[in-house]
């Protein structure tokens, strides 16, 4: 009986293993193909001019995405400026101070927020900021990106704070240090690498967001000068250029995509390296 059962069990085992391998292989293949294609295309079109020159009109040669790169830096900076303190405070609250019921409600809210499609967040920002102010603006886009980034920072902060051993917190308390001081001077420094990794993941996430920018930043043909005015950004320009029939623009869309992918790739690698270092 047992002997008979063994064969199918081995076969199922083998089959499941194969299925998993197939899935993993497919995922790696897709990443490699996509990265490879963007690299090959992007590398052939990217040059110094692309980074330091402003854009040119259709039908013309040359030009670049200087203003779009600046725009993306401004938007990511603005989003981080809002989301990092807010997300960190939320994460610290979740791991340290929230009563279990309040904390689980906040955690649930953060998870839902993380799952909301970014276009919905764009529409939300449009309704509450753009429309009352009667103007598309870098400011509204920064808020929209911050809303996307907050849950990422909050949850990673919470998780890394939880990894700080109880023995260190108790050591601080036993020295007659108040709870909140021990959080600031002992727990947060202990969790810092994890928190920084979370911030970088958040930056990677919002750097490439396009949909919310359509409703907020809008795009602009002028260099950035005012937070309350529309602003151009890399993903917006990639979208515009890639959809156009102009050959020069299409080439620049590839170069822009390459730049964005490299940004995300570098951030992911740094985060991996940091978390490996933390574990050892």
């Amino acid at each position: 009986m047992a002997k008979h059962a063994l064969l199918p069990r081995k076969m199922i085992n083998f089959f499941m293993l194969g299925l998993c391998a197939l899935g993993a292989g497919a995922a790696i293949l897709v990443v490699c193909l996509m990265l490879g294609y963007i690299m090959v295309q992007g590398l052939s079109f990217i040059n110094l001019d692309f980074i330091i020159s402003p854009s040119v009109g259709p039908g013309q040669q040359g030009g670049g995405m200087r203003d779009e790169i600046i725009g993306t830096l401004v938007l990511v900076g603005l989003g981080s400026l809002i989301a990092v303190p807010l997300g960190m405070l939320t994460g610290v609250f979740l791991s340290e101070f929230g009563s279990p019921r309040v904390a689980s409600a906040v955690r649930f809210a953060a998870d839902v927020l993380a799952g909301v499609p970014s276009i919905v967040i764009g529409v939300f920002a449009y309704i509450v900021i753009v429309s009352p102010m009667k103007s598309y603006s870098a400011f509204s886009a920064g808020i929209a990106l911050a809303i996307i980034m907050v849950p990422v920072v909050a949850r990673t902060t919470e998780e890394s704070m939880r990894l700080v051993p109880l023995s260190l917190r108790e050591a601080a308390l036993a020295l007659g240090i108040t709870r909140w001081r021990s959080v600031i001077f002992v727990a947060i420094p202990g969790a810092l690498t994890g928190i920084v990794a979370g911030i970088m993941l958040g930056v990677a996430r919002i750097a490439g967001e396009t949909a919310p920018l359509l409703f907020t930043a809008l795009g602009s043909n002028f260099p950035f000068d005012d937070l309350m005015r529309p602003i151009s950004a890399l993903p917006l320009q990639i979208y515009r250029y890639a959809m156009s029939p102009d050959g020069n623009w299409q080439e620049q869309a590839w170069a822009g995509a390459f730049l964005l992918v490299m940004l995300v790739l570098v951030i992911s690698l740094v985060v991996r390296w940091m978390s490996r270092k933390r574990r050892t």
Partner: protein, 275 residues
């Protein structure tokens, strides 16, 4: 068996009421609804070493943590009864546990220096993190004084800037003792401070406990009965009762507990290991 008992120290004291620094009255400690420590009454003499012994799980750590209000840090933990410290109940309503812990410090079983701080910053952490501003030279002086008291200065004076986690286990434990001393408490509670250490480091810490009694009161939990015999003036023996709550079975001078215990269970426990 008597050879390891410090007779000179144990017999030196004839105590009266004013020599007691901590008076524990009807103390009960709970984790949620589970009572871990039951009806403990004991008076702890000042400037002496009091040892708490007993089998694993009988509530020694729990009792010790009740003495500086660290018990309530655990989730759902609570305390009933009184602990009188200098005639004030540390559990009186309105008493700030943070203040109590400044007077009654603690050293844990596993050395736990702050890994993000240097050796020097570790020593003065209690002072620096509870004041708005501290003078650098003052902190360096304090650190040197406490490291010398903890018999660690010579070993770390060239490594003050290194991370606290870079020291050996025994050095880390003495660093933790120095860190507790820097707060200038009156009492230091130690929960099996030597259990992670080798015999030589253990002896160093035992010597240290003896010298510290010149200024400090020490309460130490230990599994090692020779250690209790070597270092302590008073010994408390705890045992789990039928409802799994820890009880204080016997509390007396170390000499009497080890040579002439009143309770049969104490004798069994002591001779069971060493007879």
């Amino acid at each position: 068996m008597e050879s390891f008992i410090n007779t000179e120290l144990s017999s030196r004291k004839s105590l009266n009421d004013s020599d007691y620094i901590l008076q524990v009255e009807e103390l009960n400690a709970f984790y949620g609804s589970f009572r871990a420590v039951k009806n403990v009454n004991m008076s702890i003499p000042a400037r002496a070493v009091t040892a708490i012994i007993g089998p694993s799980g009988c509530g020694k750590s729990t009792l010790l943590r009740c003495f500086n209000r660290m018990h309530e840090v655990a989730h759902g933990a609570r305390v009933e009864g009184r602990v009188m410290f200098d005639d004030n109940n540390i559990y009186a309503t309105g008493t700030d546990p943070v203040r109590i812990r400044c007077h009654i410090g603690m050293v844990f079983q596993k050395p736990n220096p702050f890994p993000t701080m240097s050796v020097l910053d570790n020593v003065v952490a209690g002072r620096r993190l509870s004041s708005l501003w501290t003078k650098r030279s003052e902190m360096e002086e304090l650190a040197e004084k406490c490291l010398r008291q903890a018999a660690l200065w010579d070993e770390v004076k060239d490594k003050l800037k290194q991370s606290g986690a870079s020291l050996s286990g025994g050095q880390q434990q003495r660093l933790c003792i120095a860190r507790a001393l820097a707060v200038q408490p009156e009492i230091i509670l130690m929960d099996e401070p030597c259990s992670a250490l080798d015999p030589i480091a253990t002896l160093k810490i035992e010597d240290l406990m003896r010298t510290l009694t010149e200024e400090y009161t020490i309460v130490v939990v230990t599994h090692n009965m020779q250690q209790a015999g070597r270092v302590s003036d008073m010994t408390a023996f705890m045992l789990m009762s039928d409802d799994r709550a820890g009880e204080l079975v016997e509390y007396d001078t170390t000499q009497r507990v080890f040579t002439n215990p009143k309770d049969k269970r104490t004798e069994d426990y002591i001779t069971g290991r060493f007879g």
